[in-house]
């Protein structure tokens, strides 16, 4: 376990619902590990940010992508697919954050090489707990490829 506390964890949240964005941000504010949350409100924007295309300055580092499935324009699955097929991006862990419990969505996400699938709880407190857990696992325990290099 290599703990590099110098740099903030760069999180890319792909979520179109501003309410959800707010909540997620709020949840991550309480995180133990320092992090910086960037938001893409649709799939296209997400890819633009990741690749530094279309006028978006490339994200220098994205440690982890939190991806919602239901997005306008390019939906979450397509983003996932695109990312995993892009040699420059495929190493980035993508955790699908979705309110959908449908097995179809879950299986398909893993099929498309998502690193994890988290079902957003309906209860906010629970949501906070979930975020804490994500943070615990992905930021503290796991060695992120972007931070090893």
């Amino acid at each position: 376990m290599i703990k590099d506390n110098v740099r903030l964890i760069e999180i890319l949240l792909v979520e179109d619902n501003p309410g959800d964005v707010f909540l997620t941000k709020k949840a991550f504010e309480r995180a133990k590990v320092a992090n910086h949350l960037r938001v893409a409100t649709d799939g296209e924007m997400a890819l633009n940010i990741l690749r530094g295309e279309n006028g978006c300055p490339p994200a220098e580092i994205v440690d982890i992508v939190l991806l919602d499935i239901n997005l306008p324009k390019l939906d979450g699955k397509q983003v996932l697919e695109a990312m995993k097929q892009d040699p420059a991006l495929r190493h980035i862990p993508v955790v699908v954050l979705s309110s959908s419990k449908a097995e179809k969505d879950v299986l398909q996400s893993y099929d498309l090489q998502a690193s994890g699938y988290v079902i957003k709880p309906l209860d906010f407190d629970q949501f906070v707990d979930v975020v804490a857990a994500i943070e615990e696992f992905w930021f503290s325990i796991v060695a992120l490829p972007s931070r090893v290099a």
Partner: protein, 732 residues
């Protein structure tokens, strides 16, 4: 007695709709067979009557019998007749013979007189008669005696002579003739004493006979007379044998000149016949007449039978000694009885019996024949009724029924087929099944026997339709017959497809709705909670209360939506069906419920659970709900005990989840499976009431049923059935 023939079954209408005589089809063959059957039927029926040859046989037999009877009867009659004849003749002969014997006796007397030199006295005559032993040797002769002829001038001297020995002698009675023929001697004298001296000339018959004897020189018999010796006055007669002195007596004059007297015998007919005939002649009646006078009459009246005529009668006339005696012999009934012979009647009766038997035999045979035909007809009727019924079923069936040979050549189609494919029976017969049902099924119906499959069909107008099709073999004698049962399921298929589509749509709708509903709801509840958390302090109690209710309601709504989502997905088959060990699945479920189990201290017992063929995820969900309920609705005063079992049936497995919890009142047994129906309010027990309706949906989806048995406060037993696969069913 005679049967009206029913006629054979008309098979034409049964198999083929409208037979075409030209078509070389099974229909025509059947038709010809039916015709020949009809002919045979009539022939046998015809044989069931009695015909001319039967009657002629019987008639001939009868005739023979009658002829035989008649012949025998005639023979018998003849024989009897002959017998009678013989007897009659015998009677007459006997009498004649006797008469001759008596005549001989008289001639003996004559000889005796001549031996005495023509002079004989009564003593000598007595000696003669005793020597003769009349009573013994000549029974029937009443008396034998001598009559002397006297001219008037000789009378006095004669009298004097006679009175020497017999003082009482006199000639009587007086008469007007001038010659006298007195009985001079007669023996035996004791019975004939009254006759001594009786003058033959006094009575016509005697006188005539005496003179005749004298004139002819031959024995003469008198006509019927009554002897004076006969107290009864019964008919009698006398025999006169004339005797003469020496000298010629060839002529009448000579005879008259030399006539001396007569040796006579007196007879009473009664005695004569009695002596002559034995008692065994009592079988005939005899009447002897001389002219109009009845000389003798024995059993004559009795011989007349009830018809006034005797069976046999014979009249024999004999001429004896100048008299003609008519013997009328009649057979008495006793004669008939003796001489009657049973034989002709036996023959008649026997023959009649044989004839009757013969007739009976013919009738019996004819009747057997007829009965057989009647029976056949009755069977026929039954068969016909059944066939008509069967054909009605076939004709009226909604499913198409096609019969064909093993190469697929169509033999018949029923009206439903005509409707389905648009061909008439006449058009279809003889064509190959491929016409209706293209490859692959139509190509080889023999190989494709079995359960119904979905196959394409082709109508006359070229339209393709969807059929439910099943081929099978019909066992018939002589050849193989295949059948196809088809149902046009085009519409049904469309409808099914439509339904499936609609269902899918509905589910998709429910899914999407719930899914998309969740998001805003999440927002509502999250932000309200945040409000509570961050601004709660600066708000008053009322505001806090408002928020509390808001949060609760949105939570509740979230639960409802989540459950609805689950409900809508409960019949999806994602993951599909597979064979899996339900026991393992249950283990996984119990794992999921681990917390709840620990909390409640529930004891779970699991029996032997089979491998089943369903959607594993759904099955898991089902069990989770059931066991979860069992834990949730436990009784608080005891440790919850839950048992999970499975029972094997012929066609299905029946699982059971039994608990010792709160139990359910019987009136709610059905309602609990209704979506959102709860039996407790939400303060007591959490839950939206969707669990059991999800269970039901899942169970019904794999073709089973779910139900409950329960006793309030004792516990509940939930049962659900899982159908076996076909192969498992067959194996069982």
């Amino acid at each position: 007695m005679f049967l009206r023939p029913q006629g054979p079954v008309d098979l034409r209408g049964v198999m083929t709709g409208s037979p075409d005589p030209g078509a070389p089809s099974a229909g025509n063959r059947l038709f010809e067979e039916a015709q020949s059957l009809a002919k045979e039927h009539d022939r046998i029926l015809h044989a069931g009557r009695l015909h001319w040859f039967h009657w002629s046989i019987i008639g001939a037999s009868l005739v023979l019998t009658i002829v035989a009877w008649y012949l025998v009867q005639t023979q018998v009659d003849e024989r009897v007749g002959n017998q009678f004849d013989q007897e009659a003749r015998q009677v007459v002969e006997l009498v004649s013979e006797r008469m001759r014997k008596y005549e001989d006796a008289l001639w003996g007397g004559l000889a005796a007189i001549h031996a005495q030199g023509d002079e004989i006295d009564h003593r000598e005559w007595k000696r003669f008669s005793e020597t003769l032993k009349i009573e013994k040797k000549y029974p029937g002769i009443n008396g034998i005696g001598v009559i002397y002829h006297l001219k008037p001038g000789e009378v006095a001297a004669f009298l004097a002579k006679q009175r020497i020995e017999r003082p009482g002698f006199s000639i009587f009675p007086s008469h007007g003739h001038n010659e006298f023929f007195p009985i001079t001697y007669t023996e035996p004298v004791d019975v004939n004493e009254a006759a001594i001296g009786l003058d033959m000339a006094h009575e016509t018959n005697r006188y005539t006979a005496a003179r005749k004897a004298r004139d002819t020189g031959e024995t003469q018999a008198t006509g019927p007379i009554t002897l004076v010796q006969d107290a009864g006055g019964t008919p009698g007669f006398q025999l006169y044998v004339p005797f003469y002195s020496d000298g010629p007596h060839e002529t009448v004059e000579a005879r008259r000149r030399n006539f001396i007297g007569i040796v006579y015998g007196a007879f009473i007919f009664k005695n004569l016949m009695h002596g002559t005939l034995d008692s065994d002649r009592r079988n005939v009646g005899i009447r002897i007449t001389d002219g109009d006078d009845v000389l003798y009459n024995e059993n004559y009246a009795e011989a007349m039978n009830r018809y006034g005529r005797p069976r046999f009668a014979k009249t024999i006339s004999i001429r004896e000694f100048g008299r003609t005696w008519d013997f009328e012999i009649l057979s008495k009934e006793s004669f008939d009885n003796i001489s009657s012979n049973q034989l002709p009647w036996l023959i008649l009766i026997g023959g009649g019996i044989i004839d009757a038997l013969l007739l009976a035999l013919f009738i019996f045979l004819a009747r057997s024949n007829r009965q057989a035909v009647e029976f056949a007809d009755k069977m026929n009727e039954q068969f016909q009724a059944r066939t008509i019924r069967l054909s009605a079923i076939i004709e009226n069936a909604r499913s198409g029924l096609i019969t064909m040979d093993e190469d697929g050549l169509i033999e018949s189609i029923n009206p439903a087929c005509e409707r389905i494919f648009g061909y008439t029976a006449a058009e279809a017969i003889g064509r190959n099944i491929r016409l209706f049902i293209p490859a692959p099924y139509g190509d080889d119906p023999d190989q494709n026997q079995g359960f119904a499959v979905r196959a394409e069909g082709r109508t006359k107008s070229g339209e393709t339709i969807l059929l439910e099709l099943a081929f099978s073999e019909i066992p018939v004698a002589g050849g193989r017959l295949l059948s196809a049962i088809v149902r046009d399921i085009t519409e049904q298929d469309k409808a099914e497809t439509e339904i499936i589509r609609k269902n899918l749509e509905l589910e998709r709708f429910a899914y999407v709705a719930s899914h998309d509903l969740q998001e805003p709801l999440r927002m509502v509840s999250s932000f309200t909670e945040l409000l509570q958390a961050e601004y709660g302090d600066s708000l008053d109690d009322q505001a806090r209360q408002y928020m509390e209710w808001t949060v609760q309601s949105s939570r509740r709504m979230q639960n409802l939506i989540a459950d609805l989502l689950e409900y809508s997905m409960a019949s999806s088959d994602e993951g599909g069906f597979s064979d899996f060990d339900s026991g393992e699945q249950i283990a996984a479920v119990l794992d999921n419920l681990g917390n709840a189990m620990k909390e409640s201290g529930a004891k779970i017992k699991v029996g032997n659970l089979p491998v089943i063929y369903v959607n594993p995820l759904r099955f898991g969900r089902l069990l989770q709900n059931l066991v979860g309920n069992a834990i949730k609705y436990r009784a608080h005063d005891r440790v919850p005990e839950i048992t999970i079992n499975a029972q094997e049936g012929d066609r299905e497995w029946v699982f059971s989840v039994c608990d010792n919890g709160l139990g359910i009142r019987p009136e709610y047994f059905d309602q609990i499976f209704v979506i959102f129906k709860r039996l407790h309010n939400k303060e007591e027990y959490s839950g939206t009431g969707i669990g059991l309706s999800i269970c039901r949906k899942i169970v019904e989806n794999f073709g089973g049923r779910i139900w409950v048995e329960s006793e309030p406060d004792r516990g509940s037993k939930f049962f659900f059935s899982v159908p076996k696969r076909q192969k498992d069913r067959d194996a069982a």
